[in-house]
């Protein structure tokens, strides 16, 4: 995970440097804040990955001599199918329409979102298929 962490830390270093140069050349608040925000966006996950790289060493996907068999076994958990993303998406759709067409969309949108959140949480805890 070394390259991944360096990649993100590179983002942080670049934006940190550019942000500082921009500030001292322009004294413009908005651009400076956005550049420093981007610096933090690289710094936080980059540091996290670097911490894990130091702790766990190279994974099979980090080693150029790794065999496919080195990664044999379960890779991750992949749900086969789920209705809840669709329900959540439609809930978000109805909720944003509230801001345009009026409050009567809100109960529908909020209801769908709450139902979806409960559904997807229960589904994750069950660990099975719908």
């Amino acid at each position: 995970m070394r390259i991944e962490s360096l990649f993100l830390l590179g983002v942080a270093v670049f934006f940190g440097c550019v942000g500082l140069i921009y500030w001292f050349l322009s004294y413009e608040d908005g651009g400076f804040l956005m550049l420093i925000g981007s610096c933090l966006l690289g710094l936080l996950p980059g540091s996290y990955y670097y911490y894990w790289h130091r702790r766990m060493g190279d994974r099979p996907e980090d080693r150029s001599d790794a065999e496919i068999a080195d990664g044999a076994g379960v890779v991750n958990s992949f749900p086969a199918s789920s209705i809840w993303p669709f329900v959540l998406g439609m809930g978000a759709f109805m909720t944003v329409l509230t801001f345009v067409f009026g409050a009567w969309f809100f109960p529908i949108g909020a209801g769908l979102i709450i139902t979806a959140l409960i559904g997807v949480t229960a589904e994750s805890r069950r660990g099975g298929h719908v």
Partner: protein, 617 residues
């Protein structure tokens, strides 16, 4: 065990080697899962979601293209009456919004990346399948929200795809159409952010063993960099949109200047109160911090497509692999420091800083061009439709890029700002990438996605019509811009000599449309009379061509050893491997491959106690 025999590729004279046998995978999911439309509504398969993205965004692309034809018809006459001025304003707004927010980006990072990236890194799916599905539904509902604008009183949004304040405030753009536009961009923005997170997690956590970062295909690298750009740029846009909405409806004064004047008294006229007024140019500052990286969010994935296609049809590895990767990173990094070059004429930006960084982007872009040409140099070129579209991209992007360098110079920008020169530059860059390279991607990966070929002869007709139409449409617009024709106008004076160039441009647009019609015919023929493609019809290099076409559920039953950035080529051509690594380096023995799948049951990764959590959202 199923053997797939590849047919010769018509028109290329190339007979690919026998495909790698792949066992059909049966996890039991497809047999017992939902069927029909419920299967689509509940899918979390990255391939189905990717195809849904591509089909939806292509439909929107055709719709936006029709809007462009109407606008071009309007401009064939100085006082065109095809549409009213109001309708023209709505058309150019929705044309730009559909093309940029709902086609070019989602087609690449929602569609192609969703489908191709997990395959290229040897993953069974995206890291967060349900979040992936949610991204698509947010994108679809955002698209519907934007199009709803045509059906409300007052019509759709009419302030251009950049929605500059104060034109976009409640006084100048009243009505639900503008609000629907804001909400649509917010929805699709969240969709893009979720997809960006998913792509980064997939690439960081789900690569196959041996697939080190510097063995990833360039397309995957470009999607990684694009995903980081998305995570930098889209939250800023979302925040800016929320503030715009607040200005319009909640009485805030972030960009708003009306209603904040001091009270006039004898001898003291009303003036803007600096403590109560908003700053309209702040919108531009925030918008372009998103907007210029957005141009590269749209371009980098298509650079990746070109970098995949050129080596395959040149029968060579990509020239300067690491140079390509670092050039992509440099372009992306610099693209975030040039946002205010869109604001040179406001008079409140630091011209040398933004001009210098804008010029600097030409350097890594030039490296990319050099490497693309180096890849083709002394290669055994096969001029398939995909390859032709890539070559068309090189010409188009070179012209668009060169005029971009011109616009990075403040004096030249002052002269051409808001003229058709900018329109021509912009379309050459984005048409060159999203359309030429996008179609190259379609012709290249269609056999993988559907297991059937597209007709090469029709593909070449498609290319030549698009290529000729492209230059006919956009070259005259440079001349129009230099003659002073402003953008976003529905009529113009008859005595300025603009009409003839506008007519040429309109003819070109219809030639392009004829080319797009050929693609529909090609898809129809492929659908009605399928020609089986086999797993690797192009003798391609990267991992996605190792599995069947279309790939099975969870993509792979086994993988080849990964010893270079061309694992499939190495496996199929043991006599000419990309890199020699000694006895086990290119080993094709049984020990070299292994099974690697997702379990679909929520189990934790085995033997990975120290692995940071990936989750299954």
């Amino acid at each position: 065990m199923t053997d797939v025999i590849n047919p010769p590729i018509e028109g290329t004279g190339f007979i690919p080697p026998p495909a790698v046998p792949v066992e059909p995978e049966t996890h039991g999911h497809e047999e017992h899962g939902p069927t029909g439309i419920l299967k689509w509504l509940t899918t979390t398969d990255h391939k189905v979601i990717g195809l849904s993205y591509m089909i939806t965004s292509l439909a929107l692309f055709y719709l936006a293209g029709m809007m462009a034809l109407v606008m071009r018809l309007q401009l064939t006459s100085p006082s065109g009456s095809v549409v009213s001025f109001q309708q023209y304003n709505e058309l150019f707004t929705m044309h730009g919004s559909l093309m940029l927010y709902l086609f070019a980006g989602p087609f690449a990072f929602g569609g192609l990346a969703n489908y191709i990236v997990p395959l290229q890194v040897g993953a069974p799916d995206m890291a967060f399948p349900r979040l992936n599905a949610l991204s698509y539904w947010l994108f679809l509902s955002g698209s519907v929200t934007m199009l709803l604008g045509f059906f409300v009183a007052g019509g759709a949004a009419d302030f251009g795809w950049v929605a500059y304040a104060p034109l976009s405030n409640a006084t100048n753009s009243p009505g639900a159409g503008a609000d629907l536009w804001i909400m649509a961009i917010a929805l699709t923005g969240f969709s893009a952010i979720f997809t960006g997170v998913n792509l980064v997690a997939t690439i960081f956590y789900l690569r196959a063993p041996g697939m080190t970062m510097f063995r990833m295909p360039i397309f995957t690298w470009n999607m990684l960099v694009t995903a980081i750009l998305i995570l930098i740029a889209f939250p800023v846009l979302t925040g800016a949109l929320i503030m715009l909405f607040a200005d319009r409806h909640f009485g805030t004064h972030i960009y708003e200047v009306t209603g904040c004047m001091t009270t006039a008294s004898p001898g003291h006229p009303a003036v803007a109160d600096p403590n109560a007024c908003g700053v309209p140019v702040l919108w531009q500052n925030l918008f372009w911090f998103f907007g210029h990286p957005e141009v590269y969010i749209l371009a980098l994935p298509y650079f990746g497509i070109v970098t995949e296609v050129l080596p395959v049809f040149s029968r060579k590895p990509v020239f300067g692999y690491k140079g390509m990767v670092f050039a992509t990173m440099s372009i992306a990094a610099l693209s975030t420091g040039v946002w205010a070059h869109h604001m040179f004429t406001t008079g409140v930006v630091l011209l040398p800083f933004f001009s210098l960084l804008s010029f600097a982007i030409a350097v890594p872009t030039g490296i990319k061009f050099f490497n693309w040409i180096g890849t083709m140099w002394h290669g055994q070129l096969r001029l398939s439709a995909a390859m032709l579209f890539c070559i068309g991209f090189l010409f188009a992007f070179l012209m668009g890029g060169a005029t971009g360098v011109m616009l990075a110079s403040p004096p030249l920008d002052f002269f051409t700002h808001d003229t058709y020169f900018v329109v021509a530059h912009f379309h050459q860059v984005l048409f060159g990438t999203a359309v030429f390279a996008g179609f190259a991607g379609i012709y290249y990966w269609y056999p993988k996605m559907f297991g059937r070929m597209l007709d090469e002869r029709l593909g070449k007709w498609h290319f030549w019509l698009t290529f000729v139409g492209f230059w006919l449409t956009f070259l005259p617009q440079y001349e129009l811009g230099l003659k002073g024709m402003p953008r976003r106008v529905a009529s113009y004076p008859a005595d300025l000599g603009w009409q003839s160039w506008n007519v040429v441009s309109t003819v070109g647009a219809f030639v392009i449309a004829a080319g797009f019609a050929v693609l529909l015919v090609n898809l129809w023929i492929s659908w009605r009379n399928p020609v089986p493609a086999g797993s690797n019809p192009w003798d391609a290099h990267t991992l996605e061509w190792f599995t069947t076409s279309p790939p099975p559920h969870h993509n792979y039953t086994h993988l080849p050893p990964i010893r270079s950035e061309r694992p499939t080529w190495d496996y199929n051509h043991p006599d000419t491997p990309t890199i020699h690594h000694g006895p086990s380096g290119n080993g094709h023995g049984p020990g070299g491959s292994g099974h690697r799948t997702g379990d679909g049951s929520g189990a934790a990764p085995s033997g990975a106690a120290l692995q940071p959590p990936v989750g299954s959202s």
